[in-house]
Chain length 341, copies 2
DNA sequence: TTGAAAGCGCTAACAC
DNA sequence: GTGTTAGCGCTTTCAA
């Protein structure tokens, strides 16, 4: 394989001239620059990034830690983030290294091995509810002690300050409910994944009733369901809610995310319940699959891919200047009214 | 950051001794070995993989190219492969680098940049029908010319010999149909993603009729549907098939993969059609989501995660010894009878 | 077993 | 603008 020495030799210039010209530090005369570039072409020279990075100690890659016990890639939410990360990564010319480990042994810190071995310059951790109960503060502190630039996404229940990317505003529920109220809905149910719910537990009616009250809406225990999209749980929960006669079921269902809304949509369509005619469906957290559903879902907030982009952007900043204090990047979003309401 | 020089100094041994002991090339006396290991602990030394790999020119990473226009990660099939790749990667202690590029510009070869810049030692390409129409032979030849170890997965329509991982036997259809025949089914429909179907085109009835015939089964144009799982197309197609009265619809539906079968299942359940009582559902290609469906799906073949494992294993072999002639690794599988039939 | 020294391919000083 | 030289941190001869 050709090295930069070969290129320099062939172009009849010195090593450093070739290097500088190829890295844009030197324009050279049109003639020499041309000769160098021609030599690159002739020899099929490609810089050895390993060597380059040994010298300028950056790996040019960022690590991705996704603590997921089931296949990482089967969640639409994560898929959205990744799509954004990938898009931005392409722009920033950074490689993406997937953590292979689970970091579940005692004392193991998310992604620390990747950073310590200089395989990556920084980390994005996309924590899911699989990390529920983990002492993530230890991870954050451990990574900071190593000087590892870190951006945290999604689920975070620690106390340690850390760079995060979130959706702006805590009022997604507010805006969605307001929208449903405007559409005249009074009887509203909800579908949630039920983080923190005890196994087989039910959503807290009082909690929802209170939320709905100020919009002149009511709910009932049997209008509240919990389940995951990936294993059909949410679909079943929606069936439970909807299988009552029309006058005993809600006229609108607020779902924690588009995945759940799509599950509810399929349940409704299957039972020949018209959406939005007989049932309005809204999601509180935007995911790309809501847009391509049989009936596009009204949802709220910036797309997940945007959060992914911002995360990578912020990480690039931190790699550039690691001294910055932790900051939360809140990505603004808004109500997206679509056909389902 | 501590280097191996620091470790050697602290342990009071020479550089090469430290290196050899840490790499297991030298056992040393128990005392020296212990001092070296203690020094590593004291200093928190971690080898700089960049430097190591500059010397022993292996990156220790493999590249993953997934030519997917929509988010890579939204396919259950791909998710399965990746789960297997990840599992094996963990064992093999290889990093996984995700290709950031799309390789869609003319002349671009899948993953070539990653290999040429020594970012990875080899490539796994998971081609999907998004690469339909691409001249993949050019990719295969180009990569071979570079000496890049390559394992191809999933969709391949080239002529060039290449290392591949596939499911063994072309008789998944045969075994599934045989099973349905044993169960007494005569009227059978099918659900396909319709690769190569013209937009809006319909599956070829004659094709299916011929296949079914030898098992004493019949089909009809209106029992055949095509659509994707991710955008609800398959769900809609299943609804179309199933909304007829019981005596005008098939008693069994063979689906191209578990994703489609799950879509059909949801359609059926939604219409209060009992599975398997009134409708048997079988898939021809095993995907993990079939096992966790509301009614677990009868399916065929090795799990996708197994294919992923084998791909990484084979790639590791090729990296070890790149001179081997291309070989197809066919992973044996069998009929998995579950509740849906 | 150990130590000294070479060099992987590159970039960055610092002379010319 | 150009050429020379010194390393980045590691592994690997090769001689002691």
């Amino acid at each position: 394989m050709a090295t930069i020495v070969d290129v320099a030799k062939r172009a009849g210039v010195s090593l450093s001239t070739a290097s500088d010209i190829l890295n844009g530090k030197l324009k050279g005369t049109a003639a020499t620059a041309g000769r160098v570039r021609q030599a690159v072409l002739d020899l099929g020279y490609r810089p050895n990034l390993l060597a380059r990075r040994l010298r300028t100690p950056k790996s040019g890659a960022i690590g991705l830690v996704v603590p997921f016990r089931r296949p990482i890639f089967s969640s639409a939410v994560i898929a959205d983030y990744l799509a954004g990360i990938q898009a931005e990564q392409e722009r920033a010319d950074l490689n993406l290294v997937l953590a292979s480990r689970r970091y579940e042994k005692p004392g193991e810190i998310y992604g620390a091995d990747l950073f310590e071995s200089r395989s990556v310059d920084g980390l994005i951790v996309i924590a899911t509810r699989e990390s529920y109960g983990r002492d993530v503060d230890t991870d954050v502190r451990g990574l900071r002690a190593l000087g590892c630039p870190l951006v945290w996404m999604h689920f975070f229940e620690g106390r340690e300050p850390v760079d995060r990317v979130t959706r702006a505003g805590a009022d997604a529920w507010h805006e969605v409910l307001e929208h449903l109220a405007e559409r005249g809905h009074k009887r509203v149910g909800a579908l949630t994944v039920g983080i923190g719910l005890k196994a087989g537990g039910r959503p807290n009616v009082a909690h929802y009733a209170k939320r709905f009250e100020s919009f002149g809406m009511c709910t009932k225990p049997e209008w509240l369901g919990a389940g995951e999209a990936f294993d059909g749980g949410a679909f079943g929960a929606a069936m439970e809610i909807l299988r009552r006669p029309a006058d005993e079921r809600p006229t609108a269902l607020v779902c924690e995310g588009d995945e759940l809304a799509v599950a509810a949509l399929q349940a409704a369509l299957g039972m020949s319940i018209k959406v939005p005619g007989e049932l309005a469906l809204a999601s509180v957290t935007n995911t790309s699959i809501g847009a391509t559903a049989a009936v596009p879902i009204t949802t709220h907030g910036a797309p997940g891919s945007m959060l992914g982009r911002m995360a990578l952007k912020r990480l690039a900043e931190l790699i550039e200047d690691p001294a910055q204090p932790p900051r939360e990047v809140a990505v603004p979003g808004q109500l997206l009214v679509r056909a389902s309401t």
